[in-house]
Amino acid sequence: MKKLINDPQDVVREALEGMAAAHPDLIRVNMEPRYVVRADAPVQGKVAIVSGGGSGHEPMHGGFVGYGMLDAACPGEVFTSPTPDQMYEASKAVHGGAGVLHIVKNYSGDVMNFEMAADMVRAEGIQVESVVIDDDVAVENSTYTQGRRGVGTTVLAEKICGAAAEAGYDLRRVADLCRKVNGWGRSMGMALTPCTVPHVGTPSFELGENEMEIGIGIHGEPGRRREALRPADEIVEMLLEPILQDLPFRQGDDVLLFVNSMGGTPLIELYVAYRKAAQVLARHGIRVVRSLVGPYITSLEMAGMSITLLKMDDELVRLWDAPVLTPALKWGAAPAPAAGSGGAA
C-alpha cells in the first residue's frame, strides 16, 4: 500500500484537519462528533442541506460545503457510513429555522443511519426531509432488493438544491427538487484498478493487467462483471448504453454530462472519454448544455471513471449556473465578501 498517510487509523481525522487549515474562509470542521459546516452557518431563514457518507470519496461531501451547496457534511470512516450522532449534531448546528434536508445516498448503512438521525432531529422540533439518491443503472431496480446505489447524481443534486435553498425555496420545494434531480439523473461506472482502504492495507479486489470491472460502485466493491480491457471509446459506449436505455432521456433533451474520475484517472483520460460521450449523445440527438469533468465522487486512488447524465430544464440550468463557493466547486459571485481559494484573509 503506497499512500501519503501516517497511521492508517488517523487518515480521516488528519484529512479533516487539513481541510480545516486549507479553507478557513469557507468551512469549519467539528471533531467530536465529526462534521464540516460552512463558515457562516447557520444561515437564518434558509433551508439547511446536510449530506454525508463514508470518507474516501473526496471531494464529496466535505468539499461541497459552502455558499450555494451544502450547509454540512458528515464524514464516516473510509467507505463506512457516518453515525446518527454526527448527522444529528450537524443538522442542529446548521439549522436556520427553515428546516433541514438530508441528501442520502442509497446504501443500507447510509439510509439507516440517516433515518435514525432524522428521528433524533425531529425529536428536537426541527423539520427534516430526507431524499435518497439512487441513480446507478449498474444495479437492477427492484422493490424486492436494496435498489440502486447513489453515485454521481448526488454531486449534481447537492449543487442544484444548494442553489435552490440559497434562492429561498422552502423545505418542501427543495426536497421535491432533489427528488426531481434524482429522477432525472443516471450514472454508470467502471474501474481499471482496485483501491486500498488504508486500515485494510490490501486492494479491495484483484484485477489482471488486461481486465476491467464494469458497473462498480464507489466503495471499492467489485462491479457487475469483469471484462477484457477495451479502448476508451468502447468503454464509453458500454457505460452510456444502459444510461440511455433507462428513462428519462429522449431525442431533443438537454442534459448535463458529468465525466468523473474514480480518483486515480487523470484529466487527460477523462477528456478523451468526454469527447466520445459527447459524440454518442450527439448521435442520439441529445444536447449537452452543461458539463462537469474531473474527480468529484471518487474511490480513493482507484483508476476508472463514471459517467452521469442529468436531464436539464430551465430551472436546473439556472440553479446549476448560480454561484457556488466551496472548496471543490466554485464559480460566480457570492454575496458574501469571500474569495480566493482558501486561507485566512
Binding site: 467507505f79 453515525t83 443500507s108 443511519n113 485494510v200 479486489f205 466493491e221 457487475r224
Partner: protein, 212 residues
C-alpha cells in the same frame, strides 16, 4: 436458573473477544461481497461498547444493553451500526429496570432485537443478511426452552442453528445491503453480517451456558 447483569456483561465480553479474534475473517468475507470494513467496524464498535460497559456500575440490564446500543450506533457506522444498535436497543427496552432475566425473558428480549433489525433493515429471512443467522438461532432457542431444555442446552441449540443459518447464506443471492449490488455474483459467499451475528449468539452459549 436466571441471567444476572454480570452474566450479560460476560456475554458482551465474550462477543467482543470473538469479534476481535475474527476481525480479519469478517474483513475477508466483506471484501468478497461488500466493502471490506465489517470486521473493523464491529471490532471498533464492541471495543467502544465494552469500554463504556466496564465503566458502568449498575445491575440494570436495560441500562447495560442501552449503553451498548448507544455505543454501537455512535461508533460502528455502516449498515451494521444502526442494525446492531437497534438490536441492543430493543433488547434494552425489554430488560429496562431488570436486574435479572429468566430464560424466557432473555429469549423474548432477543426476539424483540431481531424484530428491530428486520424493521430497520426491511430484511426478511433469505435476503442474505444477519437476519439469516439471528432468526433461526433465536427460533431454536425458543423452541428448546418450550421443549423444556435448560438454558445451557437451549443456548447450544441456538448457536448451532445460527451457524447453520450463517452457512446457508453462502448460495443465496443478496437482496439487501451492499452485497445486493453484485446481483448473481453475490452467490457463493458467506454473508459477513450473518457471521458476526453467529459469533454474538455463540458467545452467549459460551458465557451463559454455565449460568446456574
Amino acid at each position: 436458573m436466571s441471567i444476572e447483569a454480570r452474566d450479560i456483561v460476560a456475554w458482551l465480553r465474550a462477543a467482543a473477544a470473538a469479534l476481535e479474534a475474527q476481525r480479519e475473517q469478517l474483513i475477508e468475507l466483506d471484501r468478497a461481497i461488500g466493502d471490506g470494513d465489517h470486521g473493523a467496524n464491529m471490532d471498533r464498535g464492541f471495543k467502544a461498547a465494552m469500554q463504556r460497559v466496564e465503566a458502568l456500575d449498575t445491575t440494570d440490564i436495560g441500562q447495560i444493553l442501552r449503553t451498548v446500543a448507544m455505543a454501537l450506533i455512535a461508533t460502528v457506522g455502516g449498515a451494521a451500526g444502526p442494525l446492531y444498535g437497534t438490536f441492543f436497543m430493543q433488547m434494552a427496552s425489554q430488560a429496562a429496570g431488570k436486574a435479572s432475566l429468566s430464560p424466557a425473558e432473555w429469549a423474548a428480549a432477543l426476539e424483540a432485537g431481531l424484530q428491530g433489525v428486520m424493521d430497520r433493515g426491511r430484511a426478511q429471512k433469505g435476503d442474505k443478511t444477519m437476519v439469516d443467522a439471528l432468526a433461526p438461532g433465536i427460533e431454536a432457542l425458543k423452541q428448546a426452552l418450550a421443549e423444556g431444555a435448560d438454558l445451557a442446552e437451549a443456548l447450544r441449540r441456538c448457536a448451532v442453528a445460527a451457524e447453520e443459518g450463517m452457512r446457508a447464506t453462502i448460495p443465496l443471492v443478496a437482496r439487501r445491503g451492499r452485497a445486493s449490488y453484485l446481483g448473481e455474483r453475490s452467490a457463493g459467499h458467506q454473508d459477513p453480517g450473518a457471521t458476526s451475528a453467529y459469533l454474538i449468539l455463540r458467545a452467549a452459549a459460551e458465557a451463559l451456558g454455565a449460568v446456574p
